[in-house]
């Protein structure tokens, strides 16, 4: 936006700031992620113990039946069914943990300095999976993800844009509400809308929301940099556009436009510190 952003030092600083902000956001998400992982781990540990004990009991039953040349007891068959159903629970639990780990991995790439072709819907699904763990019970996601071409972008940075916008949307909703995430292709651009049913942004605050250091959140909860970094990533780094509609008491929708291709003059292999 400003001529200064052409300076490599400033751009490096912006990237570092963006990374620091991303780590802070992830830190705040971690409580929800821990909860999301603790239930399946608890289940697997418990199931493992139950399966081992059941097998020991089963062995005794079968040995007794063999010694007395009697029929296999009905209880033994029930036990086999119970072991099978616990193994199925283990499978689901492992899938749940892997899904969370996969979505975390996409965020953990700190300095993704290369432009890559990316499925934006996939990035959004990952972000919803992570934030869903934090908002669980309070917020429902409504998704309308259109068919999109792959987008040339810095995936780590775009992830951060989506994380910031969705976390903000969740924080704008005081109790229960909905976050709608919509995507569609618009010529040489993809459009992403993130709408919440939250408190809306008061008119006096609207001109300030993209300014560095401005925050309405209590001390320690917001850095006042989230939307500043979001705008820099969308507009300065990717040549896109970000705007919003808001109504107090009704909610806010952020509109993000990202070009499918970055200009060819862009160096594809920026060095990262």
């Amino acid at each position: 936006m400003t001529p200064e952003t052409d300076s490599p030092e400033l751009e490096l600083l912006t990237r570092k700031l963006a990374d620091a902000h991303k780590m802070a956001s992830l830190g705040r998400l971690s409580a929800g992620i821990v909860h999301e992982i603790n239930s399946p781990i608890g289940s697997i540990l418990s199931n493992n113990e139950v399966v081992l004990r059941s097998l020991a009991k089963l062995k005794r039953m079968l040995q007794e039946a063999q010694e007395q040349a009697g029929p296999v007891p009905r209880k033994a068959i029930d036990m086999v069914d119970s072991i099978a159903s616990l193994s199925e629970v283990d499978r689901i639990a492992c899938e749940r943990i892997s899904a969370i780990v996969r979505s975390l991995k996409t965020f953990a790439r700190v300095n993704e300095s290369d432009l890559r072709m990316v499925d934006v819907n996939e990035l959004l699904r990952n972000t919803m999976k992570l934030t869903g763990a934090v908002f669980r019970g309070r917020i429902t996601f409504e998704t309308d993800l259109g068919e999109l071409p792959e987008v040339e972008c810095y995936p780590g940075l775009l992830n951060q844009v989506f994380l910031n916008l969705i976390v903000n949307a969740g924080q704008a909703i005081e109790e229960e509400g909905t976050i709608a995430v919509r995507t569609r292709a618009e010529g040489r651009l993809v459009a992403i809308d993130i709408a919440d049913t939250g408190t809306g942004i008061p008119p006096e605050v609207r001109p300030l929301i993209f300014s560095a250091g401005f925050t309405t959140k209590p001390l320690g909860e917001g850095t006042g940099l989230g939307l500043t970094i979001t705008r820099e990533i969308v507009e300065d780094t990717h040549g896109g556009r970000i705007s919003f509609d808001t109504e107090v008491g009704q909610g806010t929708t952020f509109h993000v436009l990202i070009p499918i291709e970055q200009p060819r003059s862009e160096t594809n292999n920026r060095s990262s510190a």
């Binding site: 909860h35 603790n38 239930s39 418990s46 199931n47 139950v50 689901i92 639990a93 669980r136 019970g137």
Partner: protein, 158 residues
């Protein structure tokens, strides 16, 4: 008063947690297990049928574990209340202890033998409380009868 075996109410929005704990308790005990993934349905159960212990998750849609246990306290004050949570923050623990008179606060991933120990002692406590209430009722009744006899005696002699 519950009849026969003790009744355990399990509430967790994760079906897998209920399946695992149910399988464990069925293997180790003869307890009647009632599992709900929807806290509002669990609340209706509490309204209708007596239980000995309620084991509830904290983070659930529509109603959190503390809200559910507060209802449990209202409907069945003697039933012991246990919070089993993956959301380990001090604030929710303090709130749970102060607001709903929690019997135990357990964290996920849980340890089966610890869970069984807690459930067993919770059931014992609930049954002792119920016995105590019954005995107090009997004492009250005996006291009323005695007073009655005393009044009749006084009337007979005066």
């Amino acid at each position: 008063m519950t009849n026969g075996q003790p009744h355990v109410l399990l509430v967790d929005d994760e079906d897998m947690v209920i399946t695992s704990i149910r399988a464990f308790l069925q293997l180790e005990t003869e307890y009647e297990i009632h599992g709900y993934t929807n806290p509002q349905e669990a609340m209706r159960h509490l309204e209708m049928s007596p239980v000995d212990v309620v084991v509830s998750d904290y983070l659930m849609p529509k109603m959190n574990g503390i809200q559910l246990l507060a209802k449990a306290k209202e409907y069945q004050p003697e039933a012991a209340r246990v919070l089993l949570t993956g959301h380990a923050d001090k604030q929710s623990a303090i709130q749970a202890i102060n607001k709903v008179g929690l019997y135990q606060y357990l964290e996920k991933p849980w340890d089966n033998s610890q869970l069984l120990l807690v459930i067993n002692s919770a059931i014992e406590r609930t049954q002792l409380l119920r016995n105590l209430r019954e005995k107090v009722g009997e004492l009250d009744e005996a006291h009323t009868n005695l007073k009655d006899v005393q009044t009749r005696l006084l009337r007979a002699f005066l």
